[in-house]
Symmetry: C2
DNA sequence: TTGAAAGCGCTAACAA
DNA sequence: TTGTTAGCGCTTTCAA
């Protein structure tokens, strides 16, 4: 492994000073003879010289790098967000360091610290909520964007969607479409605003519609935790009640989708199916799946916009952006139609 | 944005030298009084001091960071690889910088250069093949792993799967299952080894089985490019021939899946469906989809293992790893069964 | 057990 | 138009 050439090497070879090379590297050709410029260009090419961004960052106190922590890069939400975020940042010359927390608060904390150690200029993360004090401190010194799980911290930015409204609206629609029962599938919602809000939206709809809520808590990866829910759905339908399964996210519906279909009840007439998230398989299955589509791309772009504006020194007074989701009604609940729920909000 | 505390600040506050603080930071407590250690710990906590990894990296010539470039973070293959790679690296204390090339050679080149500028210690990438000369040069100075599209460069590592064998085997199976025609769907394969090998595997099977190959080239995002393929399938079946659609990757099958099903031919009796890749919707659709499952996780882990070993200074003589894919036969082609194709190979 | 000082590769103020 | 030099925050050698 030969050592990489440095600016010193280039300067020596070209017979000029490092300052001149530095000027060249930063495109300040105006005060430089053509001959010098060509000489430097030659040497750089010959030596395969690449500037050291570490040294540059150390000096300039800027790394042009932003950090992102998501729960799991495999989740559609996370992938979608990361892609949009990374694209928007890349367009402004920023790099992205990505890490996965697996939803573990301790790991999340370590990851944040190590991003800080690497002097990322901003951090976007889907936080567990357990590091909020630390994040609030951090947010005083650098842009911090809480994504998806939008806890409210005075100095941090937050980007989320109108979970409660969208969830309430979806449940309303389902009742409206004639489902007598809605079995709501969720993972343990405690401490996770997103899940809590979606659940509350559902509960509100039940209250208004004067229906008994039916919340089934499942654990991903644990098939037995789904068995109860599936049995419940089966029982309701056998009792002659049109029943809809409404899932708090696409992954848990995915885990029980087959089993639900294998009950054999006709969809959508006896059994309705709806989920938060817009999994890529939503319109491959038959009948196509009703979903709440979150504006993932916009969330990533918006996060990048906030970060970039702040790093440019601009004022970004709206700390919180709540983007509107879209109800995508498909044949799995009977009728086709699609509508944005409410409007985007900044505050 | 207050300036972050430096090792100098800590030293001053604690009334010791920076050397001592540095020793503390690196856990060399053996030559340090307990009092000193406690004092330093206090000050660090009070100041919220975080070491600057840039300065450390500049001095140590090590950044503990690895770069990865994939075509698109949304592709199942890329996500799977990135996750496994990132996990394995994280376990060894490495960070990951991720970027997307969108399959564009120029952009890929820029990304590589900027990863180099950031002094990543190794690079794993799914390359277009257009930067092979540059990559070969680079591979002389740092570990470079070509993933998936495993071009053979003397100094670079390569990790791929046995595309040709798996593809041939899949086609054989399909003929064996009684499909008279296999319509092969692919994107333009020129210059992309993965696609070329898969196509060749299919062509070999046709040759051996004495069947006319039927290759349809499609372009993702361009519905009209799929229309021909779909019409062709329809025509064959109407002519009374059992026909299978075999797709070179999951994304292109996804784009035409609905349209194929809407032809109305019974699956698997008249129409068979099979694809390379193992999309997450493969067993949600009805009937479940026959696939060639690549060992994505192992590829990520293996890439990390190679990189880490090399960075530790160990010798890694096997430059190339070809991992075996698995044929997952499901009801979309009639019979359920699954088999690994061949064995993993190192050389 | 502790510290002084050189130096990693770069930028920019100042000087020529 | 070009160069000298201090310093970014850290590690490490050498000395005390």
């Amino acid at each position: 492994m030969p050592k990489r050439a440095t600016i010193q090497d280039v300067a020596r070879e070209a017979g000029v000073s490092v300052t001149t090379v530095s000027r060249y590297l930063n495109g300040r050709y105006e005060s430089m003879s053509d001959r010098t410029r060509e000489k430097i260009a030659d040497v750089i090419a010959r030596l395969g010289y690449r500037p050291n961004a570490l040294a540059k960052g150390l000096k300039a106190q800027r790394t042009q790098t932003v950090g992102a922590i998501v729960v799991n890069m495999g989740y559609p939400f996370c992938v979608g967000f990361l892609r949009a975020f990374s694209r928007a940042l890349g367009a402004e010359g920023y790099h992205l360091m990505v890490a996965e927390s697996e939803g573990d608060a301790r790991r999340e904390r370590q990851l944040i610290e190590s991003l800080v150690a690497n002097r990322v200029e901003a951090i976007a993360l889907q936080t567990s909520g357990a590091n909020n004090d630390y994040l609030e401190d951090l947010a005083r010194e650098m842009p911090v964007v809480l994504v998806d799980r939008a806890f409210s911290l005075p100095h941090a930015y937050a980007i989320g969607t109108n979970n409660r409204d969208a969830s309430r609206e979806m449940a309303w629609q389902l009742f409206d479409l004639g489902y007598e029962r809605i079995v709501y599938l969720t993972e343990d919602e405690r401490g996770i605003p997103t899940r809590t809000e979606r659940l509350e939206g559902y509960l509100e709809a039940c209250r208004v519609a004067l229906r008994e809520p039916e919340v089934m808590r499942v654990r991903r990866g644990d098939a037995s935790s789904f068995a109860d829910a599936i049995a419940r759905v089966d029982a309701e339908i056998r009792r002659g009640r049109r029943t809809a399964v409404y899932s708090a996210n696409g992954l848990i519906l995915m885990e029980c989708y087959r089993a639900l279909r294998q009950l054999g009840h006709p969809v959508p007439s006896a059994l309705g199916l709806a989920t938060f998230d817009h999994p890529d398989w939503a319109d491959l299955v038959d009948p196509p799946l009703t979903c709440v589509r979150q504006p993932v791309d916009e969330m990533g772009e918006e996060a990048a916009r906030m970060v970039i504006a702040r790093l440019r020194g601009e004022d970004v007074p709206e700390k919180t952006r709540v983007l509107a989701s879209t109800l995508v009604m498909r044949e799995s609940t009977g009728r086709e139609q699609s509508a944005r729920i409410g409007r985007d909000v900044s505050r």
